[in-house]
Symmetry: C2
Amino acid sequence: MIQLVILGSGNMANAILTSCLKIDVEIFGIYSKNKKHSSALAAKFNIPYFNKIDQIPTNADLYFLCINDDAITEVANNLPVMGGLVVHCSGLKPISVLAKQQNQAVFWPIESIDKTSFTNFKNTPICIEANSEENYRIIEAFADRLSKNIQKINSLERQYLHLAATMTNNFSNHLIALAKNELDLHQLDYTILKHLLTKAINDSFNFEPSQIQTGPAIRNDLSTIQKHLSLIKNNNTKNLYEIMSKSILEFKQNYHA
Amino acid sequence: MIQLVILGSGNMANAILTSCLKIDVEIFGIYSKNKKHSSALAAKFNIPYFNKIDQIPTNADLYFLCINDDAITEVANNLPVMGGLVVHCSGLKPISVLAKQQNQAVFWPIESIDKTSFTNFKNTPICIEANSEENYRIIEAFADRLSKNIQKINSLERQYLHLAATMTNNFSNHLIALAKNELDLHQLDYTILKHLLTKAINDSFNFEPSQIQTGPAIRNDLSTIQKHLSLIKNNNTKNLYEIMSKSILEFKQNYHA
């Protein structure tokens, strides 16, 4: 049976531990400097926790570094060189931050992971990479048990996917927050937009997004744009509306004329 | 049986005619100055077309003005005062642009309507308004046959919904177009993001969007932001990334501190 150690006690640690409940693996325990978080997670999953790096078992097959980007290199360097595969879960950091370790891999689920709502990785694209074919087979075999959608993605490619995920996921949510804020001022329920948005996202992936762009900006419909700007209360939102509109027109002119 | 005239020959005219195929109504015909479009639509639905305003039957129950915002007032003024209900389909124009007519209504589906892919309004929120209770009952009875989701929305409210629909639908599609453009430069398939985006949109409507904001901007994670900016090829996209990131942080500080 495959044996795991989890390093870190945040959302990713929780997600991997939750996913492992459904597959046949042995969790040796969880390491974190944050005693409160790691003991809570250890209690939740009924596994040991370690607060000192020299308490970490050295005979596990997989070491999952579920920690902030900034701390990965430090933790990978503080670990003794393990026989097992040392894996980080960052979208942006290259595999080379694990350089001290002999066996290196990356496991990056393209998913916004929340501690309370996470259920599983079944439909999540998981981007994997390793520093040897043998190590690739090990991380692939593990990822395969969690998700139907495994993608072989190298460090260079992964950072562009991380950028694109941020631009679409985080920024779209912000647009909805800003739109909701404007509607709240007039006691209007923003959920009326859900039908439109759900269809828009589907369409953006079923057609070429630049070709199905609609709205006043792409038509250069200045009277609608001016009317909209006059309605917006929040100056920050007003500014953003103008810049997005200019960007839509500019993109059309320069990329799909 | 209820009797309709359609004015206009664009996407909205096509959508209403398509929807009417499934319900028991009589289409008197279609009016448009654009002979090519109106004759094509008339042939498609096997109905008469009129190119002159004095050819329009005066005894219909409903006159649907499926025309550009800028032309609604002109067409409503050029029409003789009809006994039937004159309806416009604009999200942004107030009902008062129909002032010359005795019986006025608005029928605005919150949907991005495309001539080739339109199927029906069954799940589309349709915002309706009329200038009297009697006229409201007429447009409501009609809308009720096309959609399960009828919303009583006045002209003032409707314009804010139109603004919010533009900000979310059109701008999200643009973000996806920009992200896809960056991925294209590295031969990466953007559809890998679909799972993430679909979940993000659902979450934005299941939770308070500002409370579930994730990503480097909300954490003020400057090293990730700088790294992302260094990866973006398109200067326009780079500029937009910076402004969106500032806006996310600003919104957090001022609205949900």
